[in-house]
Symmetry: C2
Subunit: 243 residues, 2 copies
DNA sequence: CTAATAGTGTCTATTAGACACTATTAT
DNA sequence: ATAATAGTGTCTAATAGACACTATTAG
């Protein structure tokens, strides 16, 4: 039998049909209490002029690094949660060649408007309900990312990744409301968040100002050390989700 | 600006460095009340002679189809649950070239011993705790697959994918016990399963024989139409999982 | 007979959620 | 003053889990 070294010496990668691998990022943030996704306007073919998720070819780097790089090219990265979502590889999803796209999901605190960069003519945050008709199969990718985000808020403390370093319980509640698209009972939410060990920890400080329409000055919290919420913070059950 | 048609005519895929995409499958089943994973012994370089997850290069097909095909080559596929797990693409994870592996997770009912096929010298079911020292980064892939499987049993009815068409509540309980590695209280489990709408439905029939050590003849059930378990069937909480 | 299992009853502690209430602050 | 908010109290229904109990069957 051939040794591994002999095998590698005789191996020519060009014997195989050419494929490409890209990363695409579903980057989410909350702006004005609305869940928004980062879109770019494509300057290059294919789909020039269409809106798409930010992304690009993977270089000599890990997939995580590629996703972070593509995101950095569009927006100043601060604290950021980044996780792999799913890989899309149907033949024909890109007209150029066989392209596999590894999609990532990112949660970002509210940021300044992004700066266009790389091959994008422009980049901007768009409320998710207005993000339709995207290039490639990005409508599907976005839908999968939103479903993952909604589920993750239930059993992980990732909602804090949408907030700044310090936040109030009300701000956290508005994040949940924006992602889930449902109002949450303020009193019950407050008690629930504080009852989950490690979700948030008090800073001992208080906001310098109350909300625009009055009320006491709320206490400030920061993210705790829990990686999972136990018990979970379940979204209101809807019968038709189960069958 | 170039039209999309002009762009495609001048586009040569060979201008880009060559990469390959494979699928690897974490196929799980229950044998003798133990959770087992399907492994192959590699006949070809690299890692010839090592054990690995079954898998291979993606052809002109969807990723799902590739995973199903690779699995069929090793074992007779029956009812089977198949879902995408995660993509692994660190530079250097394959000594030949840049290889991205899209991992899949499969749940199968107990099957006959698999037949070796394709580039595998042999294929067999191995208890998961004995599946260590695998080729490539497959130890990591397996660990990720196991964690996903354990989590999915909590909030989906996928445990039924490990059972035959008809099964008893005790068989279902032993599936949970094997995947989670914990004994479950028989009485409470029984009541819980029947209380979740759509998890299982009665067949009206009864097993022809009781268990080996006596007891009443159990009723037979089949999988119901629920896609999610509500309320979920949570595994016993362990403090250190949360921080 | 003996021992194990299938399935049910009951009790307790925990939790989700509805509702109510007080104190505080912006306008 | 008015209205909205932060935070807490209380009650009810649902649930998880501990424990107990009966009936049934293999050996």
């Amino acid at each position: 039998m051939q040794s591994e070294a002999e095998f590698l010496a005789g191996y020519d990668p060009r014997d195989y049909p050419s494929v490409a691998v890209t990363v695409d990022v579903v980057a989410l943030t909350i702006r004005d209490d609305r869940l928004c996704v980062l879109l770019v306007e494509r300057a290059e073919q294919p789909f020039a002029g269409s809106r798409a998720l930010p992304g690009g070819f993977v270089r000599d780097e890990t997939l995580d690094a590629a996703a972070l790089r593509e995101l950095s090219e569009e927006t100043g990265v601060e604290r950021l949660h980044l996780e792999q979502l799913k890989t899309y590889g149907d033949p024909g999803r890109d007209p150029r060649m066989r392209v596999f796209s590894v999609a990532y999901l990112a949660f970002a605190p509210s940021l300044a408007d992004p700066t266009a960069g790389g091959d994008a003519a422009g980049a901007y945050w768009v409320p998710v309900e207005q993000a339709v008709g995207l290039a490639f199969d990005h409508d599907t990718v976005l839908a999968d990312g939103l479903e993952r985000a909604r589920a993750k808020l239930e059993y992980t403390p990732l909602a804090t990744a949408f907030a700044g370093d310090e936040f109030t319980i009300s701000e956290l509640r508005q994040i949940y409301a924006a992602v889930w698209g449902e109002e949450l009972h303020a009193g019950n939410f407050h008690r629930k968040v504080l009852s989950v060990p490690g979700f948030v920890e008090g800073t001992g400080r208080t906001a310098s100002r109350a909300s625009e329409r009055g009320g006491p000055k709320p206490k400030l919290y920061r993210a705790g050390d829990a990686r999972l919420l136990h018990p979970a913070l379940l979204r209101p059950a809807r019968e038709d989700d189960f069958r």
